[in-house]
Amino acid sequence: MFSLTDILSEALGLILTWDRGLSEIVMLSLRVTLTAVVISCLIGLPLGAVVGAFRFPGRGVLTVLLNALMGLPPVVVGLVVYLMLSASGPLGVLQLLYTPTAMIIAQTILVTPIIAALTKQVVEDLHVEYREQFASLGVGAFDRITALLWDARYSLLTVALAGFGRAVAEVGAVLIVGGNINHVTRVMTTTIALETSKGNLELALALGLLLLAIAVIVNALVMALRASAVRAAYA
């Protein structure tokens, strides 16, 4: 019924006839996702590093919790954020429901545990190597965290990319809190869902290919950045 060539030519057509509507959707996808990933890193990197490098009561529980939260269902997060931001909810006065900010909040909640849990693992492994050195030099807690995060930065880039992958592919949460409003909160994944529901399967798949291509480009850019940084560091 569907041939790959139909879908590919539809995808090619999308790119060739690239219009304002499409770039609006692509740009909003990137804006929401990248903002959510940056905020998640600001929270998740220090949090993960602290859990990875220090022993404290409740550390085991926190680790289990962070790992479990990696599996948060997006729809549930969407519902919780909706209930918070709804006009009848506790944060209703902020009037953030059905805005890109609401989508960023939902994705941040989804991505932060991934960043934190993976950072914890990376930092913990590195800390095993550094522990004695830190102790002999009498390095303070803050400097330990900074040093560990800095030295693990290349691995942490991959961590951030894992978070990006989760956020950019996510549809359940942003659909509920964003409302998929044309020109306001419509992103690539919600457009794909909408076109599927209209029965425009070729177009939906073509948009899916485009989303994949964008994810590849973002990953390639980050890897290129990393490679040139590594070269600069060891040159």
């Binding site: 019924m1 804006r31 929401v32 990248l34 903002t35 959510a36 940056v38 905020i39 600001l42 709804s86 006009a87 009848s88 909810g89 209703g92 902020l94 009037q95 953030l96 429901l97 059905y98 805005t99 890109p100 900010t101 960023i104 409302g179 998929n180 409003i181 044309n182 306001v184 909408l194 599927t196 529901s197 209209k198 029965g199 425009n200 399967l201």
Partner: protein, 274 residues
């Protein structure tokens, strides 16, 4: 240290980009809680630009099932409710969530089926008879199962047949728990009969070999209504702009815009305000 500054600069740029969405949300827009049939059929794409051009009010449509749209509006998350389930809409007004309900337009429900027509219902007008035959043949029937306007209408019709479909759910009666489009995609793939509003069906792009089997019964009438969310109950409601929209939809100009909208030469909605 320079790197750190660069990082924080990048971070704050992203933050500014991301949070600017809240700032640009001015007062000149309203949120309409509506249903997938009005959105997926392309009706809103046709009529809303005309309204916005005239009044400068942007209309942001959240298109979900009628049940969810009513629930969202009852939470105060919307200025106008534009759906198709009259009893539920009247209840919404009676509970004080809405100011008043007005008829806007109608179309009808149809039952679409596979060309093989295993229940032999093609061409039957009496919908209760058709549903009874589908049940007797135990031919697959895909239901929305999502408390939407279409789902409510379908369950009312099943109630008239005296068949308890909930008891056979999962057998030949299959509840997809999704929107109209998703149910059409699923139902056509499993060879099931599906009840859909005519507008969504005409605009639907994945019909395959499916055709309308049952249509024309007065019981399949599908009335759409519009309601202003009560500003006395929900203080965020933009009553003035919302009322402007409702007045326009009910006006001669708005009604003509609805009647004008055609897909493949077929009119999808028939205005009947006033």
């Amino acid at each position: 240290m320079i790197r750190c500054h660069l990082l924080s600069l990048a971070a704050s740029t992203f933050l500014a980009l991301g949070l600017s969405g809240a700032a640009q949300a001015g007062d000149s827009f309203i949120v309409v809680q509506s249903t997938t049939s009005t959105q997926n059929s392309g009706l809103f794409d046709h009529i809303l630009p005309i309204f916005t051009e005239k009044t400068g009010i942007e209309v942001r449509v959240v298109a979900v099932g009628t049940g969810q749209a009513i629930q969202n509006a009852a939470n105060g998350d919307g200025d106008v409710l534009f759906v198709h389930a009259k009893p539920a809409e009247e209840k919404f007004v009676a509970q004080g969530h809405g100011v008043a309900r007005f008829d806007v337009m109608y179309n009808d429900f149809v039952i679409v089926g596979p060309p093989a027509d295993p229940a032999g219902v093609a061409g039957i007008t009496d919908v209760v008879d058709a549903l009874t035959r589908i049940a007797e043949a135990e031919a697959p029937f895909a239901s929305r199962g999502d408390d939407s306007g279409t789902n409510k209408a379908e369950l009312r019709l099943w109630a008239e047949t005296g068949i308890d479909v909930r008891a056979v759910s999962g057998d030949w009666y299959r509840e997809t728990g999704s929107g109209m489009g998703a149910t059409l995609n699923t139902g056509t793939a499993m060879g099931a009969y599906i009840m859909t509003d005519r507008a969504t069906w005409i605009a639907f792009g994945n019909k395959g070999s499916y055709k309308i089997a049952v249509a024309g019964d007065a019981k399949m009438f599908n009335q759409y209504g519009i309601i202003l969310v009560n500003p006395e109950m929900h203080e965020n409601v933009k009553a003035e702009a919302g009322q402007t929209f409702i007045d326009w939809v009910l006006s001669d100009e708005g009604q003509a815009a609805i009647a004008d909208y055609k897909v493949d030469g077929q009119q999808l909605f028939f205005p009947n305000a006033g």
